[in-house]
């Protein structure tokens, strides 16, 4: 772990964007998330790390209520977005998901053209007033996802015809096109080569100026590079949460330490 370069961790905002209190998640009888408390600050990159199956994706999905779409999944506890309970009865999950965008572990572009993939969100949310405005949004989003140069000549080509890494960046472009306030990313770089990974990481750092980004990653180097806050999950529990520098240099919990040094996971 000595090649880890810990960038300066100036958390630009101390404002809390999302706060979770005593969150439990059950899949049927499986208790996947146990009493998790966490406060995710605004305009910050927060990394979720932990061994496979510890519940990182599950917890991430709670933050935009994607768990609602899974049969038998039950969430208890409070999750507040800007102080408002997202599990309140009055909340329409569709509206919530426009504010809290998501990039999935596996690239999942729509079987439509590259242009339509990116334009879909702005279209259904009425974010563009005309064709020109939509074109601008599409171009801006594709540029921010570091894929514009590769696809600018074939915007009408199918999105599923791209390579895995390109597809993932297309999905990122699709997610940022709706200008969410929070962007959830589940291992967004697992299908990317080092160059594309670096580009996405750069993008994440850029996104931090406007959004709060939550990223699940198996690469500790990546967590160290891009995040300001890190949460370590183990067996459904949030073991430790704090500044990335502190987690990677002076972890308080022995489990965190053994995971970071490669003894569990």
């Amino acid at each position: 772990m000595n090649d880890m370069r810990l960038t300066e961790r100036n958390v630009t905002s101390s404002e809390i964007k999302i706060s979770a209190r005593q969150v439990d998640v059950f899949y049927g009888d499986t208790h996947a998330i146990k009493k998790v408390d966490v406060a995710i600050p605004d305009k910050t990159v927060t990394a979720f790390i932990g061994p496979s199956g510890c519940g990182k994706s599950t917890f991430l999905r709670c933050l935009n209520r994607m768990n609602d779409t899974i049969d038998g999944c039950r969430v208890t506890g409070d999750i507040l977005l800007d102080g408002e309970d997202i599990y309140d009865k009055r909340v329409d999950p569709v509206q919530l998901r426009a504010k809290v965008g998501m990039v999935f572990q596996k690239p999942n572009p729509f079987p439509k053209s590259i242009y339509d993939n990116v334009a879909y969100g702005p279209r259904i949310h009425g974010l563009a007033r005309g064709k020109q405005e939509l074109d601008e949004i599409v171009e801006k989003s594709l540029r921010r996802a570091a894929i514009w140069d590769e696809v600018k000549d074939r915007l009408q080509a199918p999105g599923t015809g791209l390579s895995g890494g390109q597809q993932q960046r297309l999905c990122i472009a699709r997610a940022v096109a709706t200008s969410p306030e929070v962007l959830l990313m589940d291992e967004p770089c697992s299908a990317l080569d080092p160059i594309a990974t670096a580009q996405v990481e750069e993008l994440i750092d850029e996104l931090r100026e406007r959004f709060s980004v939550v990223i699940v990653t198996h690469s500790m180097q990546q967590a160290a590079r891009v995040s300001q806050k890190t949460a370590f999950f183990h067996l459904g529990e949030l073991v430790e949460f704090g500044d990335t520098g502190q987690i990677f240099t002076t972890p308080k919990d022995p489990r965190t330490e053994s995971y970071i040094t490669g003894r569990i996971g």
């Binding site: 779409t69 049969d71 990039v103 999935f104 596996k106 879909y120 259904i124 949310h125 709706t178």
Partner: protein
């Protein structure tokens, strides 16, 4: 890292083997594979053989029904017999029945024969008249009543030949069989042969078989499929208009929206069971509900269509649900992830991807409905119908026949000429089925996005 030091080949004392020769295990595996391939090819060959035999038998029996023997000669439309009052009023002329027309046809025929030098002195008049179809007099009368101004003229007419005479030219009737047959005499056959030589009689393609209405058991030569095709077409329209929206809506609801609980499980099981219910049960249901309770007319395409809709719905729901299921869930997640509603995710993304499967399922369901006979027998579609149903939509309530029922009816009749016509009707039915499947393939191609 320890096993790196192990010397390859010595582990377990196994002797070093060459990959150039197969070992016993591999040989056994290859033999099993070869055996399985042979089984597979035998199975496919059996199926293909059965299909070929079926096609050969139907085509050899039925193709001849598309050709028919026609007789052409001049008929003097004598004014004294057809219009005794002489004012060309169709209402008064309609008092003359077909018995008034038969002698005119016979006279015309006799004249034509003697003009060609064919001697028919030894043939009784009744036998001579019988060379022409029994339907001829009625056809002539219809023509005259529709065009009263032709009375008094002598016009050339084309009549169908009697079914037995037609059968003679198709090899069904021979001089020997005519000896034993009370419906045809060898003399008639001799006259017919002479007529062919004299260009009075010829066998050629007969549109009447496809467009004409059914005919009674004594005149197989004029029986056609027109009413049955129209009836089947009307029923298919009813089935399509009802099953597609109902089936697709039900499937989308069950697959995408319905909570998974006991109740929806029960519905699911019942839909699968319904698909396996014998079709005749749907006929009884249709009789009880649509005819006895709702009071809809018997033998009407609307009732047939409703019954077939009930029968087809489960098939279409099952096919539609299967194609909805095959759309990867990641597409739904992607749509929900960018803030699409459930409805938007289904209609913008899932349904277009499932459309080819849904269309194929629907057309297969329709094809199944097109060939269905049993339920139609119970709702009175076996009635003998000679009148064409009206245009849409009133035509849905007029009596009509259906293609498979027509086949069934014709096989019930005693005249052997109907066997040929039943096979011909099967060919027409098969052609429609092939056409529908071709449409299914085309639609699939059109809707399937290859990416």
């Amino acid at each position: 890292m320890t096993d790196l030091s192990a010397v390859p080949g010595t582990a377990g004392g196994a002797k070093k083997s060459s990959i150039l020769e197969a070992d016993a295990r591999t040989r056994r595996r290859n033999a099993a594979e070869a055996r399985f391939k042979v089984y597979g090819m035998l199975a496919v060959a059996t199926g293909v053989l059965a299909l070929i035999l079926l096609l050969i038998s139907i085509l050899s029996n039925g193709l001849s029904s598309f050709r028919q023997t026609f007789v052409t000669f001049d008929v003097p439309l004598s004014a004294e017999t057809l219009d005794p009052n002489g004012n060309r009023n169709p209402d008064e002329m309609s008092k003359v029945s077909t018995f008034g027309y038969s002698p005119l046809i016979l006279n015309g025929l006799k004249e034509a024969l003697s003009a060609r030098g064919i001697s028919v002195d030894e043939v009784p008049d009744a036998d001579l008249a019988n060379i022409i179809s029994r339907a001829a007099a009625a056809d002539l009368r219809d023509f005259v009543l529709a065009n009263p101004q032709v009375v008094g003229e002598t016009l050339s007419f084309e009549f169908l030949a009697n079914g037995r005479i037609d059968g003679f030219f198709k090899g069904r009737v021979t001089y020997e069989s005519a000896e034993r047959d009370s419906n045809v005499t060898p003399d008639q056959l001799r006259v017919a042969e002479a007529m062919v030589a004299a260009d009075l009689m010829e066998t050629r393609f007969n549109w009447g078989f496809i467009t004409g209405p059914d005919a009674s058991g004594q005149r197989p030569e004029s029986a056609g499929l027109g009413v049955a095709i129209l009836g089947s077409f009307y029923m298919m329209l009813v089935v399509l208009v009802l099953t597609l929206p109902i089936g697709v809506a039900a499937s989308i609801y069950l697959e995408e929206f319905a909570p998974k609980n006991r109740f929806t499980d029960l519905i699911e099981v019942n839909i699968s069971n319904l698909a396996a219910v014998p079709s005749i049960v749907f006929g009884i249901l249709g009789l009880a509900v649509f005819i006895n309770f709702a009071g809809l007319p018997q033998s009407a395409p609307i009732v047939g269509g409703l019954v077939l809709t009930l029968m087809t719905l489960p098939t279409i729901i099952i096919a539609t649900r299967a194609s909805l299921k095959s759309v990867p869930p990641s597409i739904r997640q992607a749509a929900l992830g960018v803030g699409a509603s459930k409805m938007q995710s289904v209609f913008h993304h899932v349904l277009p991807l499932a459309a080819p499967g849904i269309l194929t399922g629907t057309i297969i369901g329709l094809a199944q409905a097109l060939g269905e006979t049993a339920p139609l027998l119970l709702i009175g579609m076996v009635a003998f119908v000679r009148e064409y149903p009206e245009g849409l939509p009133q035509g849905l309530f007029d009596p009509a026949s259906a293609l498979p029922v027509q086949v069934y009816q014709w096989t019930q009749r005693s005249d052997p000429a109907f066997v040929e016509r039943a096979s011909g009707a099967i060919i027409v039915l098969l052609v429609f089925l092939v056409l529908m499947n071709a449409v299914a393939v085309l639609l699939r191609r059109r809707f399937e996005r290859r990416w």
